[in-house]
Subunit: 430 residues, 2 copies
């Protein structure tokens, strides 16, 4: 391996992983039997890491190990192993507040940069479910609560200033994964970059228009600057439908290796953006045309419910856990104080809403013009149809980034998405 | 000493300090001769630390040592010695960009929490000069440049993201001094607190009105939350006229022990607030009435020039040093790009202006109703006259905090200060 790694680090394979776990009695007991009885598979289909599933007579485990480079690209793009540490640290912090929506973590090995966690089964990556048009009736409730709990309890509203500053400092070291976000989301799609790709030649003009769009570049740069500067809450940092595993009953958020203190709206927005992109992709997955109309409605209803659920849960937590140093409760006593405090809450949530729309749009653009795309669109085989879906996605995304202040409520966003799609469908039908 | 301190720490006195410096040949050489030739005086009149002046045959030195408690209050208010470390660290960072406006640092002792620096002479604390009505013709130019250089070069506009995050993390540990700001500036004056004091009984009703002012408490809490969360730039953290030493020719900023990554407008605003408070205090120092009219104009001109100087220098630096990860220059190329970039700069500077007014007002209120007051007002012996000056100060301060968005430019602020004073003077004359 050409990239220098710490002396005790080695990338495991199916055999060495079994030997390793055999040496950890508590974990071996979860699998049951002996290593000879275990089935071990490397299943990582993500961009960055090794992921193993172990099945034993008594139970299963999932093991995630960081590689010293971006798996998707290879050794030419080194990436610090320490991201496993930040994933573990973030999981520990978030699990205090959001355990029901996360896999249980059993073990962290700081020398191997390896996390042993609950194997989620029969959960699937949500994105593959939404591509197939599956409905997850509890998803919006679950994820709204996950968002509110993780983002509220790590903020200055809930935490004493000193404790929060310690966490901010710890996650500041997750620099290189932040840099990926800064470059791939907020920068590359807006300039010439070898890392960019899009449905070509269909979207060549659209991509060029984005690179020439001054108002868009100004707005995206403001969102980037806030991402780099405003330490409102401990973010998951990469909360898209590919970081969520679901069944009809359960919702589990995985992979918080991009964890970082940033603006509250970043996590909320990235997820909303993925739902909206998924909405625009449906025309590429339905047969006959219109077959996904009900599903399209579910996706927009879900986007609305994610925001509303997040907002109401966040407000409820803030009302009942005023334990942080920001907006100290003894400044807002009595009926008048309560009224003033509620106005402050409303202003803060409004700013989070506006941020969320900006980050939603940013996410929708990078998934269309940047390095990493979503299977939602990639799996549409007809490039003309895919480009048509992507163009609608880009159109709403630009409005969300540039005109984010002009949306009054989440229903305005979903209505605009619906309008763009219906106009396109009407025109396509002639 | 009842507060536990590290084993190698001891508070020095005149004799032990001379012995200590005799053991450091480079420093001893600066003084010249032998310890018997040195004159050592403890001169600390600040709130927190020991400060010694050493005079030798060849030159002078200033030595600042942290005590493990707030000197002003005593051992009942412990304060971490590490603030000396943060002062030293901040001095090193700032000196890269603003050396001409800072004392030179010669030595830091991490065991004794002690800094040896240039002795500034014949400089005096600026506040005592402004109380006497002295004009510092270069002050605004110097401090505008100090502010722009320190705040720009530590921001995401100038620094690569990873380097900046390292600094943010380091200064996050300066928690307890941040907590002083959070409590004494943004919280205590707005609630009942044993630490509050004011000119009583004259301002009793004014203090009660502040504690009952919902709009003011909402606005101050928003400013507090941003102070706690937005890591725009490495702040001095306590930049008032008592932290600046001056001659007619020179301006030197001292005491950055509150250094912390926070909103750019905090340093600018605290200084503007001190100049405005100084303006309102002049009626208590003039004899006959009106004798300070020209000086009053100089103070307001200076406040205007501080803002304008900061703003134009910041823009100039940003134009010529686009070395940070925020607003990357390759997104804004060509004539159209330049125009868009300038609009972004303008919006950012506008937000700093608005923040600055809020923090100016916050500083004016805490110096009137909180624990730490300014000699500008304290030295007015007649309590009726002092209260009258303080009431004008409170009145503008409230407008700056609550209606900070409504001021278009710095001249609107100084015009309003002048209007409030002239209305009061006209009424007082009958």
């Amino acid at each position: 391996m050409s990239i220098a790694t710490p002396p005790d680090y080695r990338a495991l394979d199916e055999n060495t992983l079994a030997d390793y776990l055999a040496g950890l009695p508590e974990l071996a007991a979860r699998l049951g039997g002996s290593p000879a009885d275990w089935r071990v598979r490397e299943v990582g289909d993500g961009n960055l890491n090794l992921v193993f599933i172990l099945e034993g007579p008594a139970g299963d485990l999932c093991v995630k190990q960081a590689l010293p480079y971006v798996r998707l690209v290879g050794e030419s793009w080194p990436l610090p192993l320490e991201r496993a540490f930040f994933e573990y640290e973030a999981s520990v912090v978030q699990a205090r507040h959001a355990q029901p929506w996360m896999p249980e973590i059993f073990h962290y090995d700081p020398a191997l940069y390896l996390i042993v966690m609950e194997r989620l089964s029969p959960h699937i990556i949500m994105r593959y479910g939404t591509i197939e048009g599956r409905i997850y009736p509890h998803f919006a409730d679950h994820i709204g609560e996950y968002l509110a709990n993780t983002l509220f309890f790590t903020s200055d509203f809930a935490m004493p200033a000193g404790d929060k500053k310690k966490l901010v400092a710890r996650f500041c070291d997750n620099t290189e994964l932040c840099k990926i976000t800064e470059d791939l989301i907020f920068t590359d799609p807006y300039r010439e970059s070898e890392r960019n790709r899009w449905t070509s030649p269909q979207l060549d003009a659209d991509a060029a228009a984005v690179r020439a769009d001054g108002a868009l570049k100004a707005a995206i740069s403001e969102l980037k600057q806030r991402f780099m500067s405003d330490t409102q809450a401990l973010l998951h940092g990469d909360l898209h439908t590919g970081s969520i595993m679901v069944t009809e009953e359960e919702t589990k958020v995985i992979d918080p290796e991009f964890a970082f203190y940033g603006p509250t709206g970043f996590d909320v927005g990235k997820l909303l953006g993925n739902l909206l992109l998924c909405y625009f992709s449906q025309a590429g997955h339905e047969n006959p045309a219109g077959a996904r109309d009900a599903y399209r409605n579910w996706l927009l209803d879900t986007a609305e419910a994610v925001w509303s659920g997040f907002e109401s849960r966040f407000l409820e937590l803030w009302e009942n856990h005023r334990t942080g140093d920001a907006f100290p409760s003894d400044l807002f006593t009595g009926g008048e104080g309560e009224r003033v405090f509620q106005a402050c809450q409303k202003r803060f949530l409004r700013s989070v809403f506006v941020d969320s729309l900006g980050y939603a749009g940013a996410s929708m653009i990078r998934r269309t013009l940047g390095l990493a795309h979503n299977a939602d669109m990639e799996r549409i085989e007809d490039p003309e149809l895919r480009a048509a879906c992507e163009r609608l996605n880009l159109r709403l995304a630009r409005e969300l980034v540039v005109h984010r202040e002009s949306f009054g409520e989440i229903a305005d966003v979903t209505a605009r998405a619906r309008q763009l799609f219906e106009q396109w469908r009407a025109a396509a039908r002639g």
